[in-house]
């Protein structure tokens, strides 16, 4: 039993954080909003050069062969900068799903290219119906009832659905399923789709942790500067207690996210329960952070100009992406209301 990350994992987190904070500035996020693609192709190449796009790709396909536990701290850092590029959707969702599908031809065709940053895969399931970055993807993994399909983007029709978060590029995908595109059906498809939801929700939860931390940092900086009644507003207890409330919820949301990463990486049969728990508490922490940090920013928080909304809007969106609270509460409820003997002291770890 050891709930710590390794020195290597922590060092990698630190170097990725430094890179992202330098490269994914609020200024450059705003520049993407005004561009047609909404994305930064040069940054994607840099992410590939750092090995990030291939982290979960097996070594024989040109990747690093690492697990969701290895990537979870990096996912948190992606949240901290509100990274618009679909790194997590590729590394934490699409690649592991391709590996799970275990279609040799599909894997040989796509995994090396993903690792090299030359191809992207986007994912659409009923729980997450709007497909992020479908326009920039080469291949789409799509749920069709009780089947899973792999469809070249060129064979689909995309309709853009603008989001409150200008960084998110969401699409309705119209397409025709065929026996050629079907890669799994029946029970095996159901299992794959459940794991896709788990992986997507895990990525959302980790990002929510980073977003909450970023909103705290912005609000602490602002309330330490902004003066009213002759002193920084951050010295007032009402403001402090708003911020402390976020810190409490965030402090207790991290370990559930790391445990969920472990459950997913090891294919535990509690993975769905653990991911849903993590997604609910992490998104609640980010949601509370959004609510309290806009409040302590006063009117400035309600403007387009102040950067807070970049992070706040992403937190709102992630609340219901990859399964809304209803879906995740249902899954936790199914796990614990069936048999109360399976929970309680000593039942946390298998």
């Amino acid at each position: 039993m050891d709930f710590t990350f390794t020195e290597d994992q922590l060092l990698f987190q630190e170097s990725v954080r430094d890179f992202l904070v330098n490269e994914v500035t609020a200024e450059r996020i705003r520049a993407r909003w005004d561009s047609e693609s909404g994305r930064d192709q040069a940054l994607w190449q840099q992410l590939a050069e750092l090995g990030l796009t291939g982290m979960t790709v097996p070594e024989e396909c040109g990747g690093l062969g690492l697990s969701s536990v290895d990537f979870i701290l990096l996912a948190q850092e992606c949240g901290y900068v509100a990274l618009p590029e679909p790194l997590l959707e590729n590394v934490l969702v699409a690649v592991p799903t391709l590996i799970d599908i275990a279609d040799a031809g599909l894997n040989a065709q796509w995994l090396p290219k993903i690792a090299a940053g030359e191809a992207r895969v986007a994912v659409g399931v009923d729980a997450n119906p709007f497909v992020e970055d479908a326009d920039a993807a080469d291949l789409l993994l799509l749920q069709y009832g009780e089947e899973l399909h792999a469809v070249p983007t060129t064979e689909t029709s995309l309709t853009r659905n603008p989001s409150v978060d200008p960084s998110r590029r969401l699409f309705r995908v119209d397409w025709q399923p065929s026996s050629v595109s079907c890669v799994a059906s029946g029970e095996s498809a159901a299992g794959l789709i459940e794991m896709m939801v788990n992986r997507g929700a895990l990525a959302a939860a980790a990002q929510a942790l980073g977003l909450a931390q970023r909103m705290i940092d912005l609000a602490v900086a602002y309330t330490s500067e902004r003066q009213q009644f002759g002193q920084p507003i951050g010295s007032f207890q009402a403001v402090k207690h708003h911020m402390a409330d976020i810190a409490v919820r965030l402090d207790y949301a991290r370990a559930p996210v790391y445990r969920a990463a472990w459950s997913v990486a090891h294919g535990l049969d509690t993975a769905s329960r653990d991911v849903s728990h993590a997604k609910l508490v992490a998104c609640e922490a980010a949601d509370l952070a959004a609510q309290h940090t806009i409040q302590v920013h006063g009117a400035m928080g309600y403007t387009w100009e102040v950067d807070l909304h970049i992070f706040m809007k992403k937190a709102w969106a992630l609340n219901s992406a990859w399964g809304d609270a209803g879906l995740h509460k249902q899954r936790v409820g199914d796990a614990i209301f069936g048999d109360a003997r399976s929970i309680g002291a000593g039942g946390t770890f298998p």
């Binding site: 710590t4 010295s235 402090k240 790391y258 309680g344």
Partner: protein, 390 residues
């Protein structure tokens, strides 16, 4: 990261489980806030100590097992699962014990720890005073060193002193430098409660039982050997004790996970009436998740401390998290019980109410004692987040 127990840890769990199965009293003990119940709990401490299960984290030569924090968590899980009695001497074994090991002289350790371990001496704490609650540095009770330097003469009053009605000893802070202000000039002193000049006046708590007391000191002579740490260093010693209190040792996750388990069971047993209020299912879910989050976070902290890390302001987020969780869980149980919720356990029609009412009353104290949650929020904002002090 390795979230499985080793085979040694699993064997340890089995060992704890077997001993508890053979020794935990079949009938629950009376409340330790009654004279009879206090004696029963004192006897239970002796039983635990005989099996060397009283202070598992203490070193072996002091009657412990030298357990690390993960083993301690396993022990606690089994202890709460087994429904074993509450620890009447928790102020001693979890707060003063570790402080003594850090600051005590060899003579103090030899004199105090063995009797603490057997339950022969039960400890109360003396922090608060009528004018010093959240503002602990406002302590006014005096301890004046005698001219020959052999003893202190204590005058003043302590209050909200938990377990003091039947306890044998009390530890607390007293002002030894009359000219001093705030947290300077305070000294940590260990006071036997049978000394001449001490009056203990019980204070009934919310349940009507005298769970705490006022202690009056009227020219009480305490040998200087009963000082813990240096004169005027009381604040530093007390902070170490308060750190243990807010930190890991007292609020083991197992306690809250067992409450959550019982709450899920209560909801299942009363589903039809409970579901008329759609909020209840959500509150039960939340209880499970928060208790689980608390456990996971504690294992994470324990792992970090075992790897050489230090505990910091997170002991303040900890205090807020468990105390609000505990209150919320009991509030949910009260809602599920409906009209029966207010009935005392021995009421003729109180079937199925269990111990929820007692727990509900006790849960009111969590956000208040050991530093109110408002004080904790200030600490978090200033020391953890770095927000400006006035």
């Amino acid at each position: 990261m390795e979230l499985n127990f080793t085979s040694e840890q699993q064997a340890f769990r089995q060992q704890v489980r077997q001993w508890l199965a053979a020794h935990v009293p079949a009938e629950p003990l009376a409340s330790f806030d009654t004279a009879a119940g206090f004696q029963q709990h004192r006897d239970w401490e002796a039983t635990l100590n005989k099996g060397r299960w009283g202070m598992v984290t203490w070193p072996e030569d002091l009657g412990g097992r030298g357990c690390d924090l993960i083993e301690w968590l396993i022990f606690e899980e089994e202890y709460w699962r087994a429904g074993a009695p509450l620890r009447v001497n928790q102020n001693g074994i979890f707060l003063l014990g570790p402080t003594l090991m850090e600051y005590g002289t060899d003579a103090q350790k030899a004199e105090i720890l063995p009797k603490m371990a057997t339950g022969e001496e039960v400890w109360a704490q003396g922090w608060s005073e009528p004018g010093a609650g959240s503002d602990m540095a406002a302590i006014r009770s005096r301890a004046d060193l005698s001219e020959d330097g052999s003893h202190y003469v204590i005058n003043g009053q302590k209050t909200w002193s938990t377990r003091a009605v039947w306890a044998d000893q009390c530890f607390g802070m007293f002002r030894t430098d009359p000219e001093s202000k705030r947290h300077r000039g305070l000294t940590f002193i260990l006071v036997p409660l049978n000394l001449e000049g001490i009056t203990v006046r019980p204070i009934p708590q919310l349940d009507g039982l005298p769970g705490f007391a006022e202690i009056f000191f009227d020219n009480v002579k305490v040998p200087v050997e009963r000082r813990l740490g240096g004169e005027g260093e009381g604040w530093q010693v007390a902070m170490a004790t308060a750190g243990f209190e807010r930190g890991l040792m007292l609020r083991s996750p197992a306690r809250f996970q067992e409450t959550a388990r019982r709450l899920v069971q209560l909801y299942r047993d009363n589903r039809e009436s409970a579901d008329r209020d759609p909020a209840i299912r959500d509150r039960v879910l939340r209880a499970y998740m928060d208790a689980e989050s608390y456990c996971l976070t504690t294992y994470q902290t324990a792992s970090r401390l075992m790897a050489g890390g230090k505990i910091g302001a997170e002991s303040s987020t900890n205090k807020i998290f468990w105390s609000e969780l505990d209150r919320n869980m009991h509030a949910t149980a009260m809602s599920i019980l409906g009209a029966r919720a207010e009935l005392l356990p021995h009421a003729p029609d109180a079937e199925g109410v269990g111990t929820w009412l007692d727990g509900w009353l006790f849960s009111q104290s969590g956000p208040i004692y050991a530093g109110t949650n408002e004080i904790q929020r200030n600490i978090i904002a200033e020391r953890m987040l770095g927000m400006p002090r006035v």
